[in-house]
């Protein structure tokens, strides 16, 4: 299928500078590294990138705040230092940050005997659980682009959350290995044609991916029925399910390499854990005779970085407690949501450098917000502004297929970066703020 017709925009001329104009986009899990922001080569076709860049330019209106009121950065830092000193069991969460920001956040949790759980551990739970319990076969973006002659997308969220997915991963027709992928098929399970039209407004009707009817609650049944097809066993599901399974099985049988794609940050039907488990089970069965793999796209807004860095530094992906040098992992109980609800913490430190992880309701708990948008900032006890990784400062991040790591080089603006990186903000809280935040205070 062809890619959407690009409509290019460029940054307003006030932003033009002699600096390298190609940046890596921070705004979704695909982290496209081909964004040309200005000049004749400007190529901003992605709605998400355009919206994100526009918000980024407004960032200078995001000051430090104490109890919702704008304050100087040095006052806010001093107040934040006092908050931290007083806390006996802080919760470090949010964790929309770059690799260095996550490292600093982990160190903060460690030195303060804190709880630590990235906000997206909920969305990542089915994938983590599957990895810890069963056989999993996965793949990555370029592999799907070049290998998969059948792409089965579960739900339409991918198309909304990763706007250039079709253009960059599915639409290209010539594989690196020389095969012609013009006849690549794309099926979207659980999204109506109407939803597809809305998600892909510039794609001609005749080229829209095919829609396979399946409601949120029916997804597990559909997968079980499909597994029965693969194993040549009888199934006795409802007629709608059987029809959907027939269509999918017909497509899979003809394909050489089937990629199953879904968005982890969005809901995967009403039973995501069971659905993901069944998906991986199905894929394992398919690989007995043919080739297939999963591409669970997740970890936008720093979450993939948080998961990877946390795992290599602590051994666990999320939901941990530091206590006197020991690390305890309890995925069932140490979720940020539960810890806040049960008041197991006495200070919520919420890191949100990408302005994409809404601050939860914390009741009367003090909140130290690093980053975040203004609505959240007004609810926080202290808000310290932080730069947008990859635009305000150089940053390393891990892409949403959890293999590729990228170094994003900051774009220059005439007025300089908006705020210091998460790493420096956190270091200022426990060190010599005047030294760490030289130039900002």
């Amino acid at each position: 299928m062809s890619s959407p017709t690009p409509q290019t925009t460029a940054l307003p001329t006030a932003q033009t500078a002699a600096y390298p104009a190609t940046v890596t986009c921070p705004f979704c899990a695909l982290h496209c590294d081909d964004l040309v922001l200005r000049g004749s080569g400007a190529n901003l076709t992605c709605v998400r990138a355009v919206a994100g860049l526009s918000r980024w330019q407004d960032m200078s209106t995001r000051p430090a705040r104490i109890s919702g009121k704008a304050s100087s950065l040095s006052d806010a830092v001093a107040r934040a230092q006092r908050l931290l000193k007083k806390a006996r069991r802080p919760l470090i969460s949010g964790l929309g940050a770059d690799v260095d920001g996550v490292r600093a956040a982990l160190r903060l949790a460690q030195t303060h005997d804190g709880w630590y759980d990235p906000a997206q551990s909920e969305a990542q739970a089915p994938l983590i659980s599957a990895t810890q319990r069963q056989g999993v076969i996965r793949t990555t973006f370029s592999e799907v682009r070049n290998r998969a002659d059948l792409v089965i997308v579960i739900g339409s969220s991918v198309l909304n959350e990763v706007p250039r997915f079709i253009q960059r991963v599915v639409a290209p027709t010539v594989s690196v290995d020389g095969r012609d992928l013009a006849d690549r098929r794309v099926l979207v399970v659980g999204a109506s044609t109407g939803q597809l039209r809305k998600a892909l407004p510039t794609v001609p009707e005749s080229q829209l991916p095919a829609s396979i009817k399946c409601s949120d609650t029916e997804l597990p049944s559909l997968l079980q029925t499909l597994a029965a097809r693969v194993s040549n066993k009888p199934s006795s599901g409802q007629r709608g399910i059987e029809r959907a399974a027939d269509a999918l099985w017909a497509a899979i049988s003809e394909a050489s390499y089937t990629a199953f794609v879904w968005q982890t940050d969005a809901s995967l039907g009403t039973a995501p854990n069971a659905t993901v488990e069944l998906l991986f089970d199905l894929i394992a069965r398919l690989n007995q005779q043919s080739r297939a793999a999963a591409l669970p796209i997740g970890g936008s807004h720093g979450a993939a970085s948080a998961m990877a860095v946390t795992t290599w530094l602590t051994g666990y992906p999320s939901r941990i407690r530091f206590q006197r040098g020991q690390i305890e992992y309890n995925p069932a109980q140490f979720s940020w949501r539960q810890l806040i609800a049960e008041r197991a913490t006495d200070l919520v430190v919420w890191v949100d450098a990408f302005n994409a992880m809404p601050l939860p309701e914390c009741g009367d708990l003090p909140v130290l917000l690093i980053g975040g948008d203004e609505a959240d900032a007004e609810r926080a006890t202290v808000r310290l502004p932080t730069g947008l990784p990859g635009l305000d400062h150089d940053a390393q991040i891990i892409r949403g297929d959890q293999v590729i790591a990228l170094t994003m080089r900051a774009a220059a603006t005439p007025t300089g970066p908006h705020a210091p990186p998460v790493r420096d903000v956190i270091h200022a809280l426990t060190g010599d703020a005047a030294d760490v935040l030289k130039g900002w205070l």
């Binding site: 081909d34 996965r138 530094l313 666990y316």
Partner: protein, 544 residues
């Protein structure tokens, strides 16, 4: 400040010293001639002194290592967690054991940045990595299309340079790629079903390229048919396929299986040992297995997938990665009462004991594939103490005992040979001129052992470990000064390539991939920024 280690017995094979009593001086992080008054003296009479250990093949960083961590929290919480360690733990445990340099052998070009990030969080030890080539579509395409050899060479050099690699590894040549096309096996002279290229062609091309690029370490070869009974023939053929060119065969134990006997599984160690003895161009590391729970982490997605049915516990992850390579993470438990595992244990030891030249054998367990690296002291004792070895042999599955020649092998490794295998030889093979020896000018990574009849005990807990001249570990414990040590250096090869290849790569990546070629290039500040440690660039000398 001048530190003197007085009265130790020096085992420095690179300098020709085997048990000579000699003082060692350390000044400003390097070994100095003992020609001035020291400010600090350690009386180590009777102690054994060696350079810091060098592990030339250990999986300590990168995507698949991280998948294993996430997969196996129960191992981390268990009594024996060392198969799955954090980056901090890895650096610390290696240092405590007297190892001061570690090398990740399976770095994918597209995952290289993550490897270096994990290295930045691995304290104390020097490190480096070998970059994987041979299943990447770009190389296979070049071979299929008969590309100019100079273009292939430039591509190899560019890849090494971009990924800051010290050497190149090939894993199941063409096979990881073949699996993506549903091919389930690939023998040395069998064609990759899509590209029509054979492993033999890939081995020959890559080893020739490295030779002409002047990279010191030869092609690091994880051969065809990993783990398949009968693969001894493939390995023998692969050795011959080098035709005298240098090559390093890794975890040879997993490639040394015959098909004799009732279980159709037998030892090919003697056959391979003889070949290695006859081919001075070949070096190996063993990949010894030890009994217990561990996890296998390999780029060889084809054979890891085939082996999933043996996973213990019953879970695993296989990945096809970015038109580059793949990986497979499969937990495994080796049992002495299991015929195959028991014989694998014996095969590894047979290889050690039947290959004559310790300069061409590195001591490894392919951590964690055969066993965690913390089993090295136990392995050293098995090699040096025949009585101890025989005792352990008698615990094996009785049928496995009948299939091994181990009882008849009387050889006991000497301390000098251990020093060669664990220090001098890997340093020389990797081109690390300032490591692995105690000559003047060497980096002061020095280990002092209290002698003990029980070599396992001796090697498990060194008395003193110096890293870059700082006393970092005393009697198995990190010192205050050790805790403040900066990161170890990252070792990479300084390879040269014609810039024209970057034009080609830019176009190929733009045409087919989901990131730009430029994004693959790891800049120096990514490795050295924020006081992360030096980048040591080892010279190469390109020859046309």
């Amino acid at each position: 400040m001048r530190i003197r280690l007085r009265g130790g017995q020096i085992y420095d094979p690179a300098s020709g010293l085997a048990g000579v009593t000699k003082d060692i001086d350390i000044v400003d992080g390097y070994i100095a001639a003992a020609d001035a008054e020291p400010s600090d003296v350690h009386d180590i009479s009777g102690c054994v002194v060696m350079a810091g250990g060098i592990d030339a093949h250990t999986h300590i960083g990168g995507g698949k290592v991280n998948i294993a961590r996430m997969m196996l929290p129960e191992i981390q919480r268990s009594d024996d967690p060392m198969a799955v360690v954090t980056t901090s733990e890895a650096g610390l445990r290696y240092l405590e054991m007297g190892y001061t340099a570690c090398f990740e052998p399976a770095m994918m070009p597209t995952n290289a940045r993550q490897v270096h990030m994990e290295f930045a969080d691995t304290p104390f030890v020097d490190k480096g990595a070998y970059v994987m080539l041979g299943s990447d579509d770009l190389l296979l395409r070049m071979l299929r299309d008969g590309a100019d050899f100079s273009q292939v060479k430039d591509y190899v050099a560019w890849t090494m340079s971009a990924s800051r690699a010290l050497a190149v590894k090939v894993v199941n040549p063409g096979g990881i790629n073949a699996f993506k096309f549903n091919q389930r096996r690939l023998d040395l002279d069998e064609q990759n079903t899509h590209y029509g290229v054979t492993p033999r062609q890939i081995l020959t091309t890559l080893s020739q390229a490295l030779s002409e690029l002047g990279v010191v370490h030869p092609l690091h070869i994880h051969g065809c048919n990993l783990g398949v009974p009968g693969n001894v023939e493939t390995t023998a053929e692969s050795i011959r396929a080098l035709e005298g060119r240098p090559g390093h065969f890794t975890h040879l134990q997993f490639h040394a299986y015959g098909t004799e006997g009732d279980f159709k599984f037998s030892s090919g160690a003697a056959q391979l040992a003889e070949l290695v003895n006859q081919h001075p161009n070949v070096s190996i590391d063993v990949g010894q297995i030890m009994f217990g729970q561990t996890v296998t982490e390999s780029g060889d997605a084809m054979h890891q997938h085939a082996g999933c049915k043996h996973a213990h516990p019953n879970k695993w992850t296989i990945m096809d990665i970015e038109c580059d390579a793949g990986c497979g993470v499969v937990p495994f438990r080796y049992r002495d009462k299991n015929f195959v595992n028991a014989l694998q244990w014996a095969i590894g030891l047979e290889l050690f004991l039947l290959i004559d030249d310790p300069w061409r054998v590195f001591l490894t367990t392919d951590h964690p594939n055969g066993a965690p690296f913390t089993s090295y002291p136990h392995l050293i004792r098995l090699l040096c103490d025949k009585t101890f070895r025989d005792e352990h042999f008698r615990r094996l599955h009785p049928e496995a005992q009948k299939m091994s020649t181990l009882p008849s092998i009387t050889r006991e490794y000497t301390l000098e040979e251990i020093a060669i295998m664990t220090r001098a030889a890997p340093a020389r093979s990797l081109g690390l001129t300032q490591l692995g020896h105690l000559g003047v000018g060497a980096q002061a990574d020095v280990v002092v052992y209290r002698p003990h009849d029980d070599l396992e005990r001796m090697f498990r807990t060194p008395h003193l470990v110096f890293k870059d001249g700082t006393l970092a570990v005393r009697d198995g414990r990190l010192t205050d000064a050790g805790a403040l040590l900066p990161s170890g250096a990252t070792h990479a090869a300084d390879v040269h390539f014609d810039l024209g290849i970057t034009r080609d790569l830019t176009r190929w990546f733009d045409d087919h991939y989901t990131m730009r070629a430029d994004s693959m290039v790891i800049s120096e500040d990514e490795i050295t920024g924020f006081g992360r440690g030096r980048l040591v660039k080892h010279k190469t000398s390109r020859r046309e």
